[in-house]
Structures are given as C-alpha cells and as structure tokens.
C-alpha cells in the first residue's frame, strides 16, 4: 500500500458492480408478480435492508478496531442513539393518529400524564433537524467520551470496558419511563416517513436502497480514511502507540477523530434501521448487542472493511435462518461457529478467501501487540 487511492481499477469495477446488483436486483425481484418463481417475498426486503444497516455498523466498528486498535464494546450505543433520533422524528409524525389522538404528545407521554413536550423533543417534527441529530448526538457523545479517554491514554481492555460501561449506563437510563423515551417499550407504531406511509412496498424498497447506498458511501469514507496518511498513522498507533507518540504525533487527536467518525456512521446505520424494523427500544443498548457487533467483525475478518460487512451479513443471515429452522438448537450452531472461526480461521471469512486464492499477502491485522492485556 504505497499509493493513497481508494481502489485500483478492478476494485472500482467490483465495488460498483456489487453495488448495482444490490441496488437494482433486490427491488426488481421484489416487484415481480408474486406468483413468479423469482419473486422475492415482501418481508425479505426490509430484512435485507436490516442486514445492510448491520453491515454499516460493523464497518464503523472495523474502522476503529481493525485499523486503530480501539475495541469498542459500546458501539451499539451510537447505533441506538441514531435510531432513537429517527424514532423521535417518526413518533412526532404520528400526530393525532395515536391511540390517545394527542397532536403533540406521543402516546406514552399522554399515558404518563405529561402535560407538555420535554425540551429535548423540540424540533424533532422536522426531518432536517432529526437528520442533524442522527449525526450530531452520537458524534458529540463519541467526541466527548473519546476526548476524555484518549487524552488520558486509556487503552486496551480498559477502554473496552468503559465503552461497555457507557452503553450499560445508557441501557439502564433508557429503560426508565421517566426519561421520556418510552421506557422498555420504546417507540413503535410508526405511521409514515417524509409524508409517505411506512408500511408499503415502495417505502420498504426505498429504505432498502437508501441503506445500501449508505453502506456503499460508508465503505468509501472508511476506505478513504484507511488509505490516507491518517490511515497509516492509525495503523502505527494500533501497533506501537508509544513509539508514535515519541515521534511527535498527537495520537489522541487521531484516535478521537476516527472514533467520532465511526460513531457517526453507527448512528446513521441506526437511523436507517429503525423504520425498517419498526421499533426502537432500550435493548439495542444492551452490552450483549455491542459484543455481538465485535463478533461480526471478527468472523468476517478484522481490518479488512469488506470482511466486517460480510461478517455482519453472514452471521445475521445464519441467525435468521437458524432461529426458524432449528429454533431449539440454533445457539449450539452459532456458538460452534464462533469458536471454530476463532480457532481455525483467525483472519475470518475474508482471510480464508485470501488463502483459498493462494494469495499470501500480509494482511494489515498482523501485529496486535498493543492489544495485549497487561499480564
């Protein structure tokens, strides 16, 4: 990697080709008449859209974990915050169609006898404001958190655990009904987005396409960062933080930047996720969810970007499939896959594919000295 360019020619062709197939193919198959053998069932479109959101989330984590050596066990929090911002917008769009027909207050506030909208809900009736918040809330939180953590040189497992503490704290806080975010039930019963009904085929296809485009753009952004000079600095930070610092670089700045960027990507993924699954609730903050994201990345292949996306889709597809076909044993399969992947394919699916092609390039994720836990 001597040249800082996004892809070589073949890379561009592959990227655009896959993108085109995904953007055009799925909606096309879905539009086919339902008795056609090639017809894609309606429920699969939001499902694929959901996978795309997960892939974007995994990509965001791979950027900080694979390239900067920051294993965040709290990325679910940024994802959920983006989701909540979108959920608040969707709640405000319900208007008088809610159970209690209150034009201003969402149902759960009417129920808790709230008389007026809390200040932090102001503005969420405008999509532009909500869109801004989708980016801003996770971004600012990540910036403040990262600034505190990286400036004091919190690294390795300590960092992982305090990111877990972050999502755990938010998890507990959002469960509280008094917070004004709907408590355990969160937000559901959304009606429409940008004036168009949410439960329609066209909307599902549109959201799916938006998710794939977001994934593609996210991929390009990450790719741009890791192929730039900053990307190489990050690799150096990952592998030998102290040396980089001795060389005169400001390690913390680079880390804060990439952490914030990653959180913003995660927030966007969350925002696209919510209208497709139709619910946002505090369980998205649960520490287990965040650990799972790390597992997608590891299964796909850490430090490869493509691998993260592939891992997210593969694991979630396996989950969808196994919970339906072997509902009482799927955890055995999933658990066995995790163990096998770790032991046998440490470089994940992408690493395996590389070996299969007989290409023995040295992948970027080789020297992980900095992550070693203090004995």
């Amino acid at each position: 990697m001597t040249k800082t360019r996004l892809f070589d020619r073949n890379g561009w062709i592959a990227f655009l080709g896959v993108g085109l197939i995904l953007i055009v193919g799925v909606p096309f198959l879905n539009i086919l008449p339902s008795d056609s053998p090639a017809h894609l069932a309606d429920y699969l479109v939001p499902l694929f859209g959901k996978y795309a959101c997960y892939a974007l989330l995994a990509l965001a984590l791979d950027l900080v974990w694979g390239y900067a050596g920051i294993l965040s066990l709290g990325h679910g929090a940024f994802f959920a915050l983006g989701g909540y911002a979108m959920g608040m917008y969707l709640m405000r769009q319900i208007g008088t169609r809610g159970v209690y027909q209150n034009p201003i207050l969402p149902d759960f506030m009417v129920f808790l006898n709230w008389k007026e909208l809390p200040w932090y809900w102001y503005g969420f009736d405008h999509f532009a404001f909500a869109a801004l918040m989708i980016v801003l809330v996770p971004g600012v939180l990540a910036f403040v958190f990262g600034w505190l953590a990286f400036r004091s040189r919190v690294t390795g497992v300590y960092l992982s655990i305090i990111t877990q503490a972050l999502t755990y704290a938010l998890w507990l806080a959002f469960f509280r009904n008094d917070m004004g975010f709907g408590g355990n039930n969160g937000m559901t019963d959304f009606k429409d987005l940008l004036g168009m009904p949410l439960q329609s085929g066209a909307m599902h296809r549109g959201l799916y396409i938006a998710s794939v485009i977001a994934l593609g753009l996210g991929f390009l952004v990450c790719r741009y960062v890791v192929t730039s000079k900053l990307g190489r600095l990050l690799l150096a930070v990952r592998d030998a933080q102290s040396r980089v610092r001795f060389l005169g670089y400001n390690v913390a700045h680079a880390q804060v930047f990439v952490f914030t960027l990653s959180a913003v990507l995660a927030g966007i993924a969350g925002a696209l996720y919510v209208p497709q699954v139709g619910i946002i609730n505090p369980s998205e903050f649960s520490p287990a969810n965040s650990i799972e994201i790390a597992i997608w990345v590891a299964v796909g292949g850490r430090g490869t970007l493509v691998g993260a996306a592939i891992g997210a889709v593969a694991i979630n597809f396996a989950k969808t499939y196994l919970t339906g076909s072997v509902p009482e044993a799927w955890l055995y399969f999933l658990g066995a896959i995790f163990i096998l992947v770790t032991l046998v394919f440490p470089k994940g699916i992408v690493g395996l594919a590389g070996e299969w092609r007989g290409v023995h390039r040295r992948p970027p994720a080789e020297n992980l000295a900095d992550e070693k836990v203090a004995p």
Partner: protein
Amino acid sequence: MIRRLRPILVALVALTFAGPMAFAAADDAKLSASVQQLGADDFDAKIAAVGELAATPDPRVVKILKALEGGELYVAKDKKVVRAEPDGDSFTIFEPLGGEKIGTATSDDIDQIVVNNRVRGVIDAALGALNLFSGRRADRLAAALDLVKHPSAASVPALQKAMAAETDSEIRQDMTLALAGARLNSPDKKAQLDAIAELAGSTDPAIFNVLSALRDSPDLDPEVRKADEHAIGAISQRLQLVRIGMTLFEGLSLGSILLLAAIGLSITFGVMGVINMAHGEMIMLGAYATYVVQQIFVGYLPPGWLDVYLVASLPVAFLVTGALGIALERSVIRFLYARPLETLLATWGVSLILQQLVRTIFGAPNKAVANPSWMTGGFELIGGAFITYNRLAILVFCFVVLGVLGLVLKRTSFGLHMRAVTQNRDMAAAMGIPTARIDALTFGLGSGIAGMAGVALSQIGNVSPNLGTIYIVDSFMVVVFGGVGSLFGTLAGAMSLGIVNKLLEPVSGAVLGKVVVLIAIILFIQRRPRGLFALRGRAAEN
C-alpha cells in the same frame, strides 16, 4: 380484625393458664365439635372454632392448630375432619385429635381445609399466646417480641403471669418492654410516664410508632406529651444511626456479592488476560450443581441431612466447573494466548453453548434452590437493624474464599509458579516450570471459584440459564475498576461499588443510582487509566 382479636385471645389464654393447672382433661366431645367446625365452609366459622380451641386448655390444641395452618387437615367424604399425610400418590389419614391411623385415601376422597391470611393470623395469635408458656425458649422469645410490636392492655395479665415464671433475661427484657407498651394508654399518669421512660431506651421502629401514636392522641396530659416527644426524639436519632449502619451493611452485602461474582474473573481475566465471557456461565453451572446436589439429598438421604447440602455443594461445584474450565483451556483458550482479544469471541461462543445446554438438560424455567434452615431468616442486631443470615453467610464466605485464594497465591508452590508464568512465561518455562499445566490449572482455579460463587448466589437469586448474564458485566466492571491483576483491587472495587450504590439508591432510586455509579467508573478510569490498584513496573506497560 386480627388486631382486635389478638388481645382477646391473649386474655383467654391467660385466663386459662391463670387458673389451677390441675384441670381435668378437656371435654373431648366439645373439643371434637370444635375440630369438626374447622371444616366449615366459611372463614368466620373457622375463626370461631379456632377461638374455641385456643380457649381449651389441652396440649392437643397446639397440634391441631399447627396442622390446620400447615394444611394437613382435610374433610373426608363423610364430612368428617381428618388429618392426612401425603404418601406417594395417595394419603394416609389419621384421627385429628387422637392421632390413630384411620386408613388411606386418594386426593379425590378428601378436600383440604383452606385457611386464608385472616384465619392464619388468628391461629398465629393463639399459638403466640400459648407460646408465652411454651417449653422452648425460641417460642417464648418470638411470642414476647410479637407482643412488643403489638402492645395491648389485654395482654398485661398473661404477660405478668409469664414473667413471673420466666428466667431468661433477654425474654424478660422484651416482656418488660411489652408491658410498658401495654401501659402507655393506661389512665394513670404515673404509669404512663414510667412506661415512656422504659420505652425511650429502645430503638425498635415498632415502639417508635407506638409512641408516635400516643403523641397524636388528642387529649394527652401536657407532661406526658412532653416526655413522649422527648422519647420520640431520642429514638428517632438512634434510628437514624441504625439506618446509616444498615445502609453500610447493605452496601457491604451487595459488595460481597459483586466480589464473589468477580473473584473468579479476576483470575481468568485479571491474571491470565483471557476476556472470559463464559465466566458468568461458570457461576450459573455452580448454581445448577447446587440444585443437583440438593435433589440428590432430597431424593436419597434422610431429611435431617438436608441442612448440610449447601456445604456439600461447594466442593462439587468447584470440581465440576474447575474441570470444565481446564477442559476449556486445553481445547480452546490455549491456542489464543497470543491473541487475547479473540478469547472474547471464542468464550462468547462457549457461553452461548453452555446456556443452551443447560436449557436443554434442565429446561428453561427457574429451578428452586432452598435456603437451608441455618440460612433462613435473620436476627435483630439491635432494634430496627435486621440482618438476614443468608447475606451474612455470603459476606463471610466471600472473605474466606478471598483469604484462601490469597494464601494459595502467596504461600504454595502452585501459586508461585502461577505468578511466575503470568509475569514472564518464557523465563518461567526456562526455569523448568510446566507452563502449559500451570495455565490449565490457573484457568481451572478461576472457573472453580466462579462455580463456588454460583453456590452462594443460588441462595439469594434465580437459578436459571440466564443467571450468568446478570453478573458478567458487573464482574468486568469490578475487576477493571479495581485494577486488572490485583486481587486486593478487586476486593476494594467490589466493596466501594457496593457501598456507593447503596448510598445512592435511597436518594436517586435504584436505576439512576447505578447509572451514576457507571458514569463515575468511566470518569474514574480517565483519572486512573489502570484502575484503583494498578500494577506497576514493566509488566504493566504492555
């Protein structure tokens, strides 16, 4: 209702026992009629029957009342009240008074006599009053304490009678208090003032309430009111102190639970560096081992042995989870020492499999693990400070575990080898230490301790396949907050988190309190990036 009945019953009993003890055996026919009335359909009739029985000076009454409360009395097909004991699928039935065996019956032949809380309250009051004269010290103490909490003028004769015969100083003290409480509402001012002075030395919240009720009564003598207010002030001050002490104890208790859950992790994660997500499942398996041992004791050993099942579960849980830990280390973890973060992934997989395995074997619903009798209930340290035995036992147990572990690490050659391997693996190997074996044993030790924690935690919470997931995040917080690799740090971390949590809880509520604690941990790690007790030296610098 119960409140009103209680004094009447106590008075009845007192009258009974105040009379010459040489009464003739009670009229059996009358007694049988009362027993027969227990089988009536409505609760009022049952209560009347209990009242009649309580007033009958016959030793069989206690047995009958206990049988009624224990659900052993049934109505047979011929409407006769009998006592029945389950015997497999059928019942053996007995004469309720005499105790002679009548025969057997199936569950279709007999109907249990249902008591509700109201009847139960009346039975308790009757038994309680009878207990003032019981031969067992514990019965008398409980009866006296009950009268302290529910003072009434009607109980004075019985109390005086019982006190005259009482030799135990603690019971006498309680009886004095109860008498004072009973005299509070006496029309005699002198008696009232004496009673207040007597009660002012107590810290019991019940007495606080009794005195408060007196203060609120409308036409009170000003002098008495003044004395009363003074006494209330004194008690409430002491109660506040007691409250602070109790909060500290609650904090220590929560801390001890956190500590127990985290000790095993402080070895597998803290010492060995394995991000052991299966730690929670080791705790869970320890709890299930307890359940299995309990079932074996229930099924195969005489009932008297049941109280020691918990002690027997400790080695079982340790060995089972320890062996599993060793197997896990040999089959999975040993390949991952060079890539510690990936242990997260593999152990997460192990944790999913173990959870599902337990669900397959034992089923998804919770399992009942009983507190042995010596861990049931609690004692009143001083008035208002009630310490439960299970929490006290866990507190002691966690320190014993920590102490023994400390000794193993510092005083045995295994401990020495273990420390050597974790500090410098290559050098340790060069010195001839079998590092592979030490790794396996260390991981086994950590897992085994987690299993023993499961035994203890089964005594305060659920035994379900999800048990581990409740504790895993908190355990990591404790180990990291205390400082990875430091046992003492884990102790300090657990205790301080427990106490801070409990101090915050009354102010902010349970959830916000915990959120505040988590934010505090995050900020604390910024200040001290390696926890409370950071390891120093080269080894700590990656």
